[in-house]
Amino acid sequence: MPAPVPFDPQEVVDAKYKERKLRPGVTAKRTICTACDIQCSVVSEVKNGRVVRVRSSDNPIFRDNICMKGIISPKGLANPNRIMHPMKRVGERGSGQWERVSWEDAFEDIGARLKATIAEHGPEAWAVSTSQWNTGTDHGLGRRLMNHVGSPNWTSGVALCAGNTGAVNKFTYGWFPIGDFQNTKCIVLMGHNPRRHSWTPMYTWIRQAQARGAKLIVTDPRRSSSAERADIWLPLKVGSDAAMMFGWLKVIIDEELYDKDFVANWTIGFEELKERVNEYPLERVAKLTGCDPEMIAKAARMYATEGPAIIPWTPITDMQRNSTSGIRLQSILRSICGYVDVPGGEHLQGFNPDIINESEIEMHHVLADEQKSKQLGSDQHPAFTYRAQEKFCGPMKKVWGQEYSNIATGSYMTPPSSLFRAMAGEGPYPVKAFFFLGNNPMMSYANMNLIIKAMMNQDLIVAHEQFMTPSAQLADYVLPADSWLERPMMMDSMGWMSTVRTSEKSMEPPGECRSTFEFWKLLAGALDRPEVVPWETLEDFYDYRLEKLGMGWEEFVATTDVHFKTPEFRKYLKTGFATPSGKVELKSSILEELGFDPLPYFREDPPIDPEYPLKLFTGVREDGFFQTGHRHIEEMRKRHPEPVAFVSPGTAAKYELNEDEWIEVENELAAVSMKVAIKDAMPDDLVRVPHGWWKPEMEQGAGKLSGALKYADALLCRDDEDYLDREQGIPHLKGVACRILKSAPLNTDAEAQAEPVLEK
């Protein structure tokens, strides 16, 4: 069913997006918005030294790539609660007692204490949680310093969002593809729901492709706005994505709809795959997914015959107990249908040859093998750790010209749960110093109570943040971070795509806020390793990265919105694929060598516990927020004043729930408070819980944590073995057993009772 037209024609007539004349006293800067991780190219308008407006880019290829989070940024980043100067803890951890210190004094102490930790426990006792997505100017410098110091224990939210997909895609064809939305004829959205104010460019590309006549297939338990626009919607059971793909493969192989030439010439393991797929007749898949077998077959035929088709990256398969198999099955579908590295299909772009990429900056080769072997979790869950990813060094060098390829920063990571167990004193060795940058780790991974225990067990915690998040409240030092409006940036998509974009500095950072670049430079100096970050300024660093282009940063940013590499397709005809066999490995030789099933498989849910008869679906973003951020912005909170759990009318009736009623969503780990919204787009017995809720206005400090202990979905996310993906060790967020309890009305501070507008 097509979605209703979402605008009034008069509003189109009145639209101001074409008016680009600057107002008096205003200058324009071409910038990259990092209010979320999509990183849209936009324009900042500056007056009196301050950004007063963020609007859409004048470049037609980026037109209208802007959302509510972007336009509110000038006010959101001017919030009076922004951290403006370094603070040192003076009371007990989490007591909320701080004293103001200088950056220099802070790093003198941080350096001395980190050196003492390393001297006592070894460099592996130092862990970092961050990502280049959120911090902008990290550019791999954190990994670089850790590699020189000797710690392998770096983790990130990308362990369960895109980064892990990048690492797992390598097992099949040695790179992480990006869909050619501009030329594709069929798009498959697996649970993902890009929309006007969330993943905006992806939403644009999908709508443009549909307008061109491309087909859209959506697999999603919810009747999302994408599902409403789809040619086929498969309302599968939550977490059954891998089973669904087995059904598609069964149809495609049985009906010989695959690309026989490609399979014969460029793949290995097809016969073994076929045997595995035969374990999943459509009747079984229908039972596992809850979908009509005819519709499953119809979708499979559409994908295989209406191509070239794409299965864009989706966070859904990043966060399941079958994540590795789910991601591998996507790779296998792309491969056997002949969609890999062809126009309109899945492009393997490789690095941009004109710049020094972040994987090179990270210098993974300097970390000693002995230290790599100590990477936490690599014994049990090695998929994205050094143990598995280093096996690609030879093929990577041969095909892509360098040994290390940290695509989307998701390779060579420590599985988060393994790290936090060690930090809590439950691992093979102690981890006693923990740094996090642009990251709210307590609420970003599974088992929040374990992470709190882990943080309370640290000798040194350093946070680089814009606001006093619940995680920062437990730190020894909170150092003020700059924002995307206040620094230049060169964005190379972390090696995933080969385009390079630029962002001009629009204004000076307020107070004593500094960039991630400066953070790592100061820390390198404090650890007596200044040569590791030798550049004086961020601009000098960019000059170095641009050397091969023969121009400096100043000229590059002045003349370049985007720097493309000329696209090449089917590069494998000359080089083969960056796998040990040089072919697409339907049966993964590396997974086999590591002792895992080399073929994808499907683990069914544990038996239903009658005490917890419902399924919980979390990790969901709301339009006004990015992850755990933006809760301090009044305009966004008016849109989403309280955390809201979605249930179906049937579930509401069964449990006698009313709209706007407060409930507790509970499982064996914890309970969180939410309001109820009854949505007919939800299936029965599924509870959709929003991600990352806390309230900056609530009491800070240990035991309170600004409401995180009351609302955060991470409290409910399990990380016991039944709920972890075997190969990666990442948690299952799509279908955790839970129950709903009615709760007494809470004394909340919601200023307004705005209608939730989620996912539309």
Partner: protein, 78 residues
């Protein structure tokens, strides 16, 4: 050469031209750049009635007053 091979080669050439034009359009300096920008702009602008990206929240945004933002940052506004 098979028809599929011919089709892939044709699509690859078209994709290369698209990227080349996008690069020139983004540079927007020379007359050729500006022609590319004009063509891309025309090709990518939907009819108003088909424009799924129109949104009053975005389209009517006028930004902020710098003095007001200063006062807000100092905590002088509610």
């Amino acid at each position: 050469m098979s028809s599929r091979e011919r089709e892939i080669r044709k699509q690859a050439r078209a994709a290369k031209i698209q990227m080349w034009m996008a690069g020139r359009s983004s540079r927007n300096k020379s007359p050729l750049d500006k022609i590319c920008r004009f063509i891309i702009s025309r090709a990518s602008t939907p009819k108003p009635e088909d424009d799924f990206l129109r949104d009053p929240l975005i389209d009517n945004d006028e930004g902020f007053d710098p003095d007001e933002l200063d006062r807000f940052q100092r905590g002088e506004l509610g």
